[in-house]
Symmetry: C2
Subunit: 311 residues, 2 copies
């Protein structure tokens, strides 16, 4: 079998080591506060996991539980507390609209998840810095950013091309177009030069920067293509379908494709995909958490130094 | 314009520096003899250029001119001379068959061009070492090897995949199927895991190792495809058409493709290709000469040490 299976822990290791060394060498103690205002056992698990990995790298993590009606005040309190450097919320709390409102209550300066409108706007518009001097990079949402790092690690990004264009020539299929991961991911990849087929149950959109990357940021075109049309065209297939029964049709995947799953369910048939893919990444969670901590250190630096050396 | 133009001199620099440093540090003086037995002004130019670049890296180069009827005896003499470490011949001398005979007269131990039947056979059969202990890598022909190095440099080879499979998932179109460059190149790339469309005026063949690289070495299938069918499918387009008027149809090339020309004529329209390609390599000659010298140092080591540290 020629397929190389790459585990998230091998990818995250370099980032975690770097974080640990940085925190230790500089003698800093960045503090992250997580707000849990729901009874979702998955959120509770994620909070436990965050606590564990933060402890390993030297980040101070405090989980604050509250009722959903108290959450807004608690966030404002943390915004104003100079001992807190990063804030995250375990969503969903209310549901779409009010949760989106809460995302904008979190201070831009402390938003480790990159969910504030300013970051979301900048990401979609391919604006990569907060300041004109380009000293402060924007915060990107952790899962899409983690998937970018996975794609760098497995060689999909071409480092010989200029920063910002390193996916030029790559065709990527993203099966999931949620506002949390799929749509921002498609935009990030297209902004980096890929042609992206963004798939959801309503159809397929194409995110791209035009022939020869003539556009500075991506645009979106509607297509009438089906999944079975775009899979054979795709160098990279990324799945995030949150149901146990969904499986991508391996027979349609291009021989030698790179396949990445970010769903908590296995969207690829483990045996079949290894017959077709050159590289298979079955999960990305550990890279996501490393990115959360990385965003925290970046924001810590902005708050204390006005810039950051985190690359 | 988002296309990155990569010049051969930038790619060859690392190999030339490495050669120069190795030769100096080890205090060795490998000797290459080139035989010129024709009046072709291009061969004379190539001989001058070889002499110049050898002088720069510390290789001793001696050009020996003779009549074509004396050539065989002169090669045998050089084969037996322990002061000569590498031998090359400026072809054509007679024409196809007798030249191929002369290629096998050059000792395997001194064949810097990798044209001896043993090397050619091993290359087509994906046999990478001369010995069971894997201490002695086979010599590969200089231009195909140079193009492999160009493809490594510009990021087409994926270093995260195992050695020997690093082109898995890449589709390459090679326009030229000569025995000197095009056919060996198609075989090398397919042996490394690519799907290769090998184009000549008689049609297109596909070189590949099957789905999931199930074959240990490439096989060749005939196709009824045309150039206009395979260009849009190809991540990499490599041209070597030796006529001034031939140009690839840029409009058919996949957006973001890597385009490499090894012909002495410009087979890509320089302006048009920059609108489509992510990377354009207009010539490879300097990398070819670096590979010639690299092969020489490798053979020098085999003759003097039985193995080589040249990677």
């Amino acid at each position: 079998m020629s397929c190389k299976v790459v585990l998230a822990q091998n990818i995250s290791a370099q980032y975690r080591d770097e974080l640990k060394n940085t925190i230790k060498a500089r003698g800093i103690r960045p503090k992250l506060v997580g707000f849990l205002a729901n009874d979702d056992p998955a959120a509770g698990k994620y909070a436990e996991w965050t606590a564990k990995t933060c402890a390993e790298t030297g980040v101070e993590f405090e989980l604050r539980k509250c009722s959903r009606n108290d959450l807004e005040d608690k966030i404002v309190e943390a915004n104003e507390d100079t001992n807190v450097h990063g804030i995250m919320v375990y969503y969903p709390v209310f549901g779409d609209r009010q949760d989106q409102y809460l995302q904008n209550v979190v201070s831009v300066a402390k938003d480790v998840e990159g969910l504030h409108h300013k970051y979301v706007y900048n990401m979609y518009h391919n604006i990569r810095f907060l300041d004109d001097a380009h000293a402060k990079k924007c915060i990107l949402p952790c899962t899409p950013l983690g998937i970018v790092k996975v794609m760098e690690y497995v060689g999909v990004y071409n480092p010989i091309l200029p920063y910002g264009n390193r996916l030029h020539g790559r065709v990527v299929c993203v099966i999931n177009r949620s506002e949390i991961v799929g749509r921002p991911l498609a935009a990030l990849l297209a902004n980096d030069g890929a042609k992206v087929y963004s798939v959801d149950i309503n159809g397929i959109q194409e995110f791209h920067r035009g022939v020869g990357l003539q556009l500075k940021r991506h645009e979106v075109s509607e297509t009438t293509l089906k999944v079975e049309d775009v899979l054979p065209l795709s160098d990279v297939v990324i799945t995030g379908v949150p149901t146990p029964n969904y499986k991508v049709d391996s027979s349609k995947i291009k021989d030698g494709a790179v396949c990445i799953n970010f769903s908590t369910f296995k969207n690829f048939d483990g045996e079949e995909i290894k017959k077709k893919a050159s590289i298979y990444v079955p999960a990305v969670g550990k890279v996501t958490v490393a990115m959360l901590e990385r965003n925290l250190v970046r924001l810590y630096d902005y708050q204390t130094q006005g810039t950051s050396t985190t690359a």
